[in-house]
Symmetry: C2
Subunit: 429 residues, 2 copies
């Protein structure tokens, strides 16, 4: 029996991993908007915690080393990888500080261009989401990988080798302390609390909660993981797109955009399926929009507030908020300001395209930065979610995945890249 | 029985798909270095072929429509998607010409920077490789997706819906004619010649030959494909890195780089495992390099020519060319110039890092452009394949995959992006 199996029988693995996945997924909303200084604070506090816990870490490592040497007859190279000493703990702590000193990539504008119709399009860096790291004997990967993923705004689920279980747990406690001191969710960095191998296979299938897995270790580990892998997909399952009318919306823009976003073509993935309106939006404006939609042949399924405005509005059921109609039907709800809209979208969106209508630049920026969909828009129709409209010329589809082809997939997205290095005799010292 | 099953029984699917995959994989070496003008010629010739074959295409489509209407009781919307007419064939032909008019992304420098040691690093666009497209009733996807993939230098395997089988085959013939007229391999665009559903599941598992799959169709198709998918990986299985000494190599650089590339640290993935030397490289230089390596404690396993130079060189076996030693062992072979080196690397490399040593700028460019590894170098040690050495600060690993994290995976590679669109009321016409 390996460590941890006492606590978690084999039959619990999917449930256990599901819980870790859900916790990580819940944490990423928060991490995506965490300022650089806060992430750095967590890293620097974790470095201090590592230094302070050196004795405990070395004791945990000694337990691992004893078991490895006695029970498992590991080779000398593996024992060296597993072994920690004061110098190696200090190197780990220094590594966290180095990562804190790196530039934060999140929010950087990667490219920007203007369309002839006046739309400005930016491609902006976002976290990947939840990263799974599967590694073997080196306990320092707990700190290194955890810190790198956090710096990029991701939640990470770490699954270390059974031989380094005690060491990894001791290091993990320091990372958790750093997260807590910075006020960040503990689920930002999690260590799988079992050495059951079934956890690795389970991670590979968690396509709903883990965005990418990084296997770090010897050839046999990579091979095992690769054998269970599949060809990656550029796809979107559905486009449950939202248009949110803010209190500071221009009424004429709101009227024109909502009808266009829903009714121009109802069968495309960029069609708006849910209308959200701030509580502060005037009933009169909403009544006009309701009339516009009904006049255009659209059925409206509203929450109680929207229903109370116009007898022609049907009652929305719970399922309506998660439905891609691809038809002349729209769900509609009142929300509490942009915060309410962002929350509704996080709970129900398919992360395809969402739009805000507002003249308040600050509110617009909040929406654009906090909504994690492939395409976020201000004061424009969601029906512009299209490679041709983006100026890509042609598209093979729209991707809601988070790899390099997210949003419209045109010719450029059908490429990869390589690094070309030119030297004049450089040797690595 | 659906179309095509007569020719291919269920038991043949893995073999059939394996053949398509191998053919596509063989085609990509060629496609990656095909000039833009040649790809455009194929697209324009295919457009002309489509127009010329309008009658045949409509006849094939009529057969599909008859079967669909009579045998399967398809809905009106699906029949409309399946239906072709002269206008739609013309739109397909025009679509190919539009894609020919798009800018070719391959070879574009995406980013470039200099390192303090004088290394210049560029990130250059390459094709993704082999793309699988799984679609449903719309036969025009054959032309659209085939053309987009080709324009980006990819080979594509198209798997259309059974209901559009005749139409897709008729369109495919025109694409093949375009490829042939441009002198491009027919395997650049292939249509799966069976409607057996097992082909879809098989495609998902072909991680060795298909780089990414684009499912295009209704929710049930995407759902089915997604259910069989796995979390994507950032990984490399091994680093079988090559250093090639060209006839125009500077001897001193060659000596210094080869020993460093192999022996600085033998256990890292960027260590050179195979030394290639042009037939024109002087025996004396190779003898010096052999002595340097042996003096540094390295075992050399050579082909006949290398063995004949020095009695201390052991005989290489076939397996040596595919072996990552991670130890003080190197395989060594003579090759016929840069062409021979590129071929050897294409046959044996793990697509991690390869280097050329040459003072001939033209030969260097050929190597850098035609070798499809995550990192290609000129006049530098392969041991520079490292996030820290690239100036990324820290890395979580090195990826030989072709998604956005290829080569060193640092903080930036642990991010995704989103599109931010700013308008002032734009509605889509």
């Amino acid at each position: 029996m390996t460590h941890g199996e006492a606590a978690h029988g084999k039959e619990d693995i999917p449930a256990l991993m599901g819980k870790l996945g859900q916790a990580a997924h819940a944490a990423i909303r928060r991490l995506a908007i965490t300022p650089t200084a806060t992430k750095n604070k967590a890293l620097i506090a974790a470095a201090a915690a590592l230094r302070a816990a050196t004795g405990k870490i070395l004791a945990a490592n000694a337990a691992d080393m004893d078991e490895a040497a006695e029970d498992k007859g590991m080779g000398k190279a593996l024992l060296d990888r597993l072994m920690l000493n004061e110098e190696r703990v200090e190197a780990m702590a220094k590594g966290l500080e180095d990562i804190a000193a790196l530039e934060d990539p999140v929010g950087k504008i990667m490219a920007a261009w203007d369309r002839p119709n006046g739309l400005r399009i930016e491609r902006v860096r976002t976290p990947l989401g939840v990263i799974g790291v599967i590694f073997e004997s080196r306990p320092n990967v707990t700190a290194d990988a955890g810190a790198l993923c956090l710096k990029a705004g991701n939640a990470v689920i770490l699954r270390g080798g059974s031989e380094s279980f005690h060491s990894c747990r001791a290091i993990m406690r320091c990372l958790t302390q750093g997260l807590t001191e910075a006020g960040l969710p503990e689920a930002a960095i999690q260590l799988v609390p079992t050495t059951d191998r079934a956890a690795v296979g389970e991670m590979l299938t968690m396509t709903g909660t883990i965005d990418v897995i990084v296997p770090r270790g010897g050839k046999s580990l990579i091979k095992r993981v690769s054998e269970e892998s599949r060809v990656p997909l550029f796809k979107h399952l559905e486009g449950i797109c939202h248009t949110y009318i803010d209190a500071a919306a221009d009424p004429e823009k709101a009227r024109a955009i909502v009808v266009n976003a829903k009714m121009r073509r109802t069968g495309i993935c960029g069609a708006t399926e849910t209308l959200l309106a701030d509580e502060a939006v005037a009933d009169d404006l909403l009544l006009e929009i309701i009339s516009d939609l009904i006049h255009a042949g659209c059925e409206i399924r509203g929450d109680k507030n929207i229903q109370s405005l116009d007898a022609r509005v049907l009652a929305a059921e719970d399922a309506d908020w998660n439905t891609e109609y691809l038809d002349a039907v729209i769900s509609a709800a009142r929300v509490k300001g942009v915060e309410g809209a962002i929350k509704h979208i996080a709970d129900h969106s398919s992360h395809h395209t969402e739009a805000i209508i507002t003249e308040d630049a600050g509110v617009a920026e909040k929406f654009l930065s906090e909504v994690d969909s492939a395409i976020v828009m201000v004061n424009a129709s969601t029906q512009f979610a299209d490679g041709g409209e983006f100026g890509m010329g042609a598209e093979i589809g729209i991707s809601t995945g988070k790899m390099h082809a997210r949003g419209p997939v045109g010719v450029e997205q059908l490429t990869s890249f390589k690094y070309v290095v030119r030297g004049n005799g450089q040797c690595r010292p």
